[in-house]
């Protein structure tokens, strides 16, 4: 906008009222058309690796299990784990991950679908999941395919600090990156409501910079406080669960899929003396009253269902005999033809667009005749920056040689 202000004041004068009108109307229309709540998604991220961070993976897997039990299917859960605990050589119970020293529950038992494992859990992949900007080859199971009516639960655990979260000991996610990603999600209507739960040290600082409406965030500790683990499992040898997650799970173990406990009861169940930190939540961006929001809005499954009143009787008016005759004639040939056509269709739809897009560009470049303009075009393309620099260096040499020879 600054560049426009500098160069074309008249345009600004024309555009400014239109933009004001647009923002007004968009505000109005967005308040009028509220989307219906269609589905729930969960993005569960464990940002640590190595054996001594066992509890972070146990945290994430426990929440995964809870969310699945309350009804969110695997296809709507994105699970990002380093996944190096269960088969770690230091694990006395191979292929088993526990979150309690009584070993009652094996979290890694059945039906665990990890979408991003190992070194794929990076800040870049995390932000790509949130904003939806993947390469074309990324499969659907690794994408967050939410729409305007989705409620998303975002749970992150690991080591964190003041306005950052450490990813796998090599990178950081800053609070402004997260806020920026959420802002882009909101612009593209990728969620209706978002609940962020963070279980790290100084967790509440991670959502300081959030400004998008419809976001509710809770962190396990405030700035300057640490979040502690709950207990040490002397058999396994490491701490197996964090306090915040432990009390969250305790709350959910009492629920089943039909319950409607509210979010405010969840948030008020955190006792600072048990947690040894203050669980701080931020609800200024969230318009609804927490007493009225059931936890299954985020943690469980809800399907809006509409009964089908009647069948569409298109066929009953047709002569059934005619139907049979038509089928017997065509049935032989249709099978092979149909499958062939399908494959061609798919190939065609993929090929047409890029070729169509490429053609006009070739035409543009061929039109220039003057050598200087072709040089300029090549300059502007900027593909081979290296060769360009090489040309520059090479031209500098005669510039040096000639004066030296002149003054000799």
């Amino acid at each position: 906008m600054e560049t426009f202000n500098n160069s074309k004041p008249v345009l600004v004068l024309l555009l400014l009222p239109c933009l004001l009108l647009y923002s007004l109307i968009s505000f109005n229309s967005s308040s009028v058309e509220a989307a219906m709540h269609t589905n729930n998604w969960a993005v569960l991220v464990c940002t640590s690796r190595f054996w001594f961070n066992y509890r972070h993976m146990a945290n994430t897997l426990s929440l995964y299990r809870t969310v699945k039990r309350l009804g969110i299917p695997d296809e709507r859960i994105i699970l990002m784990l380093a996944d190096d605990m269960a088969c770690n050589t230091r694990n006395k119970y191979p292929a088993q991950v526990f979150n309690n020293e009584n070993h009652r529950l094996n979290l890694y038992g059945d039906n665990v679908e990890v979408d991003y494992r190992g070194y794929e859990v990076t800040v870049e992949n995390f932000l790509r999941v949130l904003t939806g900007r993947h390469e074309t080859a990324v499969p659907r199971s690794k994408r967050l395919l939410s729409d305007e009516g989705s409620h998303i639960l975002l749970y992150m655990t690991g080591h964190g600090g003041d306005e950052f979260l450490k990813f796998q000991d090599s990178e950081e996610l800053q609070s402004h990156d997260l806020a920026d990603a959420v802002k882009q999600m909101k612009e593209k209507h990728r969620f209706k409501e978002l609940l962020i739960m963070v279980d790290t040290c100084q967790a509440a600082t991670l959502f300081n910079q959030l400004q998008s409406p419809g976001v509710l965030a809770i962190g396990s500790s405030m700035k300057g406080e640490n979040s502690y683990s709950h207990h040490l499992d002397s058999d396994v040898g490491v701490s197996v669960v964090d306090r915040f997650t432990y009390y969250t799970l305790a709350f959910f173990e009492r629920l089943n899929i039909y319950d409607n406990a509210s979010l405010s009861s969840l948030f008020s169940s955190y006792n600072p003396s048990w947690l040894m930190s203050t669980a701080y939540y931020r609800k200024d961006l969230y318009k609804r009253n927490l007493e009225e929001v059931p936890v299954t809005n985020f943690f469980g499954s809800v399907m809006e269902t509409i009964h089908t009143d009647a069948a569409y009787k298109a066929l009953s008016r047709r002569n059934s005999g005619r139907f049979e005759a038509q089928m017997s004639l065509d049935s032989v040939h249709h099978a092979e033809r149909r499958t062939l056509m399908k494959v061609n269709d798919q190939e065609e739809t993929h090929d047409v667009n890029p070729e169509g897009n490429k053609q006009p560009l070739q035409g543009e470049e061929g039109a220039s005749k003057c050598p200087w303009s072709t040089f300029c075009n090549k300059f502007r393309k900027g593909e081979n920056v290296d060769s360009l620099v090489n040309y520059g260096l090479v031209t500098m040499i005669p510039l040096l040689v000639i004066p030296t020879w002149l003054v000799r």
Partner: protein
């Protein structure tokens, strides 16, 4: 002493030599002071050398600047803003032509026209996004002569007088009447025609194309008929049978790239009881293919199917002694789909931005058979099916084995009988219509009476396809505009982000497609405008979701500075200082020479 002095002499500079020499020839130049004068003109070699190095540095600077320049493909920001304001300010207007034909009534057509228009304006809701502009022409056919209004309209005057009579509507075969109307009015015009006929039995039917007719009994006021006609025009022909005219996002199942994948699944809850298979290909060709073709301009649809085993449902059902079957209610519907065991989303054909609609046929186990759905008012559902918007639909089909036990012979694999499969697919088509926001029943119960809707073999009648095209054009264009505006805001807020050529091209083509869609819409070509708007939206989404727009991976200015300054700063400092020093030295030497020259001139 002598060596030391000699060594001193040899080590010392020229100045010392001059100094030692100076006392030897003081008689030639008495005032020669080597500190202030020099005899020879100072050479330019040193100056030229240093300045050429400095100059080559300066010459190389633009090359360096170009090599670290961020490549940003130029985006047409002004056009994006103008498209957005155009869509916001003047509402997308679809032109609609209505034609009402009154047969056997002796009324003034102008009066009829005014009353219908009045009713229409009462019923039209304020849709902020897209509205329609309509024209209405009325013909009164009295057998012997015709009256039309408005007199100048080409639509009303083109009607051949006397071609539609009351006898056409006597028979009860609605399909034949529909065909007759098509033959009279021709299928090529895009106008919506309502025929009001004076006759015996009351009947109101909407045909498969763009015609509707109403048989009004004798003695009824024609004004009542006018109200009903207005309601038909607004509620059905403009809005497609929905309650309000606005577009609800949960009934827009087309994916962002304009594709829908229909995934049909046959779920055998317990294969130990019985295993069912179906002949999907036949049904696909006969029932689904015409519907998919009809929806071509709106969405690119592909179909796949699978049969799954061991897929119990997640909710509970109870035995009802009166109905002698297991019953589940509408309260259980949200929990019916058991996503843990139903692995429905295994499609590899769908791209990242397509939308998948799941249609599942649930075959219950022997322990829960027959399974019926009970509605809140106590009735049993006729279809045993339900939908979830944006997800798909489920039908419960009770196999023969539990309906009449005696005749059933279990075999390794049973095929669902063709008649049942047809019925099932009729329900599926009804559910598909529901997912697009239409009703699955064939009757529209309006405020002033009912209309029978003739079903079409393609799943959607032509006027319903028009409604779909218009709504999807509206939705797609608005979505495209907001996406492009968000993209331009994002790009302008990050001045150092690389924007690749792909994005520029996609934005350009998206804007062209949007312009094409707008021009087609204003000329009334609904289908081509829907196709163009779908392409505009998919290109805009491709541009916005281009994987290179990641804020973590572009070079900030601090990064660039930190990379290049450790080399260039010290070197350039040395070069500049050397040049300045040489310049200063040259000036000094030149001054000394000039002083000597002046002295030499004055002395000689």
């Amino acid at each position: 002493m002598a060596e030391i002095s000699e060594a001193n002499d040899s080590d010392s500079s020229e100045l010392q030599d001059n100094g030692s020499e100076a006392p030897q020839r003081p008689e030639s130049e008495p005032d020669f002071d080597p500190k202030l004068m020099r005899k020879t003109k100072p050479g330019l070699k040193r100056l030229v050398l240093t300045f050429s190095v400095l100059f080559s540095f300066l010459l190389g600077f633009p090359f360096l600047w170009k090599s670290v320049e961020i490549y940003r493909s130029p985006l047409p920001f002004r056009e994006i803003d103008s498209l957005s304001t155009q869509l916001r300010s003047d509402n997308l207007l679809f032109p609609l032509h209505f034609h009402a034909l009154f047969v056997g009534f002796d009324h003034d057509p102008d009066h009829l026209r005014r009353s219908i228009l009045l009713e229409i304006t009462k019923l039209t809701s304020q849709n902020p996004k897209c509205s329609n502009s309509y024209t209405l022409s009325v013909n009164v056919d009295l057998g012997s002569h015709c009256l039309h209004s408005p007199v100048s309209s080409p639509h009303s005057s083109s009607y051949p007088c006397g071609s539609v009579t009351a006898t056409d509507f006597v028979q009860n075969d609605d399909v034949a009447v529909d065909e007759r109307l098509v033959s009279v009015f021709g299928g090529k015009t895009k106008e919506y025609i309502v025929a009001v006929v004076k006759g015996g039995s009351e009947r109101a039917v909407v045909g498969k194309h763009r015609h509707a007719w109403m048989v009004v009994g004798g003695g009824r006021k024609v004004e009542v008929a006018a109200v009903k006609v207005a309601e038909l025009l607004v509620k059905l022909f403009i809005n497609g049978g929905r309650e309000e005219g606005s577009i609800r996002n949960e009934f827009m199942p087309v994916g962002a790239d304009g594709k829908i994948v229909l995934s049909f699944n046959l779920l055998n809850a317990d294969p130990l009881d019985w295993v069912y298979d179906w002949d999907f290909e036949k049904i696909d060709d006969t029932l689904l293919a015409p519907m998919i073709e009809a929806l071509g301009p709106v969405a690119n649809i592909s179909v796949e199917s699978q049969v799954l085993y061991h897929t119990p449902k997640a909710s509970f059902s109870f035995w009802n002694q009166k109905l002698e079957s297991y019953v589940f209610s509408t309260k259980d519907l949200p929990f019916f789909v058991n996503s843990n065991e139903w692995h429905l989303d295994t499609s590899i054909a769908a791209g990242g931005r397509s939308n998948i609609l799941q249609f599942a046929v649930y075959v219950p186990s022997a322990k829960e058979c027959p399974l019926l759905l009970q509605l809140p008012n106590g009735e049993i559902s006729k279809t045993n099916g339900f939908i979830s918007p944006m997800w798909g639909g489920v039908i419960v089909w009770n196999p023969q084995g539990c309906l009449n036990d005696s005749e059933f012979e279990p075999s390794a694999k049973n095929i669902i009988p063709i008649q049942d499969l047809e019925n099932m697919f009729e329900v599926f088509i009804g559910q598909f219509r529901q997912l697009f926001g239409f009703k699955s029943v064939n009757v529209y119960a309006g405020a002033s009476g009912d209309w029978n809707l003739l079903p079409s073999e393609r799943g959607f009648t032509e006027w319903e396809l028009d409604v779909l095209s218009r709504q999807h054009t509206c939705f797609n264009l608005h979505s495209c505009a907001t996406t492009l505006v968000s993209l331009s805001r994002l790009v302008q807020s990050l001045p150092r982000m690389i924007i690749m050529d792909d994005i520029g091209k996609q934005v350009k083509f998206s804007l062209e497609a949007a312009k094409l869609a707008l021009s087609n819409a204003s000329s009334g070509a609904y289908e081509s405008s829907a196709a163009a708007s779908s392409q505009a939206r998919s290109l805009a989404e491709d541009a916005f979701f281009h994987p290179s727009i990641m804020s973590v991976s572009y070079y900030s200015f601090e990064h660039c500075f930190a990379v290049y300054s450790p080399f260039f700063l010290p070197v350039s400092m040395h070069v500049v200082l050397a040049a300045l020093r040489e310049l200063r030295r040259y000036k000094q030497e030149k001054a000394k020479y000039l002083v000597w020259k002046a002295k030499a001139n004055t002395s000689s």
